[in-house]
Amino acid sequence: MPDSAPEALTVTVNGSPVVVSSGATVAVAVAIAGQACRTSVRGEPRGSLCGMGICFECRVSINGRPHCRSCQILCEPGMEVNTDG
């Protein structure tokens, strides 16, 4: 249990605002938004699997840069996240 409520910040996931606690990873923002992170080669939706930067399933675009491992990147205010890969 956190000792005190952590500060909140807002990012956008596919254009919609998502509020996360400070220190949250981008993967968490995508999960809160109810989005899959990427679409697989055969068109399946995929989300985070390993949570530690190994599996590459959580790849998203962050501020226009593609293929970012969202589980290893912390949210920053105003960050634009897109789940197109």
Binding site: V20, A24, G53, I54, H67
Partner: protein
């Protein structure tokens, strides 16, 4: 490309979990220049993720405090991907490239979960057990969610207790190991008072949660995301509605960097001498890569590696006894949580085994080696470079993983462009394309 920074350290430690932290702290006692590097945005590794901030784990807090101060240079969010020449490693940050030169190197690269394919395991919200815990530690709200915890290993209980503490409902914990092995494990714990205390605490926290041995998931169901799981329990199937399936089959060591550097790896583990030195002089390895043994073993091996790397072998020797005891526990873990052969038949023909390239089980069955499967099906050729499907196919088909090629993680084109000195790299295909 011009490298953003270029630095030399007497002792360079890769991996800031318990083993790496212990190595850096003990090496720095000798007034040498010491750096600790990790690819995550925070230190602590997987087992101590978030513990430095929460302060709940006294052991973690003790080591965090020992790491404070300027003696150790701390480099977060830097992923080592290549060794262009002996004594030099390249690491990539979000926007930068660092050249890290070392006299002595300690590789404390930790472990990852072993994932086994079964129908539906690629659905969103089917995650590693440690993977879901990492997400919750990173801010994912879990209160009121139903989480089936399944797979194998002592971490399942710790993770279930953690999730429950944070408001999750745990309808069941499925452990594939048979009761007979778990009972034997329980009686052997007598030699490890700290483990007994942990076990009793977990028992208290998990009161009322069914823990079932001889049990494993058969399939995950849902459309765009998970809605239920079929498990096998005492030989009968049972469908359990849930929001998440947290599923990991114990751990496999991360040995890719050691392999890249030419360190001998045998039976899946990095081979080390009494001082934790690998087959490559001045390159040490500690913690899970040398045998899955948990925090205590990682801390003592890390200390030995750090002291030895700093040349303080007399102090390192004093820890050999403690390491011997901790290694016995590692052997006990190996025996207890060995995977049962029935798990080899979980996949159907259509079940995806390689998630990066969507290679189904049916296409892999016909191949006789990891290499043949890679060449013919692209299994293991995606960005994870076989980190997920490698250990899975090793269990399913007894394939041996291939040699490791640089870059050991996908790196940016601009980072790779700086490596004109390395002919081998220029002529290697880039795993995962140009990410």
């Amino acid at each position: 490309m011009v490298k953003d920074s270029q630095r030399h350290f007497d002792v360079l430690v890769i991996g800031a979990g318990p083993a790496g932290i212990a190595a850096a702290v003990r090496a720095a006692e000798s007034s040498l220049s010491v750096a600790l590097v990790d690819d995550n945005p925070r230190f602590g590794g997987q087992i101590w993720r978030g513990e430095f901030e929460s302060g709940h784990d006294q052991n973690a807090v003790r080591w965090r405090d020992r790491l404070r101060g300027p003696e150790v240079t701390k480099l977060f969010g830097k992923r080592v991907f290549h060794q262009p020449e002996a004594g030099v490693l390249l690491a990539e940050g979000t926007d930068d490239l660092c050249e890290l030169r070392y006299t002595n190197l300690v590789l404390a690269t930790g472990a990852r979960e072993r994932f086994l394919p079964f129908p539906g395991w690629t659905l969103p919200n089917v995650m590693g057990a440690g993977g879901l815990q990492a997400m919750v530690k990173s801010g994912l709200p879990i209160r009121g969610k139903r989480v089936v915890v399944a797979g194998s290993g002592p971490l399942l209980l710790a993770i279930a207790a953690y999730l429950r503490r944070h408001g999750a409902e745990i309808p069941i914990i499925c452990e594939q190991a048979p009761w007979s092995r778990l009972v034997r494990f329980g009686t052997r714990l007598a030699g490890y008072p700290r483990k007994i205390a942990q076990a009793l605490q977990l028992k208290k926290e998990l009161a009322g949660v069914p823990f079932v041995a001889n049990s494993w998931p058969l399939a995950a169901h849902g459309g765009q995301t998970l809605d239920s799981v079929t498990i096998l329990r005492n030989g009968k199937t049972e469908v359990i509605p849930c929001d998440y399936l947290a599923c990991g089959f114990h751990l496999v060591p991360n040995t890719e960097l050691q392999s890249l550097l030419g360190c001998q790896v045998s039976g899946g583990y990095v081979q080390v001498d009494n001082f934790q030195q690998t087959s490559v002089p001045r390159v040490f390895s500690a913690g899970e890569p040398t045998g899955i043994g948990g925090v205590e073993l990682a801390l003592v091996e890390g200390q030995i590696a750090g002291l030895a790397a700093a040349g303080v072998t007399a102090s390192a020797r004093k820890l050999f006894g403690e390491r011997r005891r901790a290694r016995r526990f590692a052997h006990l873990l190996d025996r207890t949580f060995r995977l049962r052969p029935e798990l080899r038949s979980l996949s159907s023909a259509e079940t995806i085994v390689c998630r990066c390239e969507d290679v189904p089980y049916s296409l892999l069955q016909e191949h006789r080696s990891w290499r043949a499967a890679k060449l013919q099906t692209r299994c293991g050729m995606g960005p994870c470079q076989g980190r997920v499907c490698g250990p899975a196919t090793q269990f399913l088909f007894q394939w041996n993983p291939d040699s490791v090629r640089p870059p050991v993680f996908p790196a940016r084109v601009e980072s790779l462009a700086g490596l004109t000195r390395n002919a081998e790299l220029e002529h290697s295909p880039m795993p995962g394309g140009s990410q």
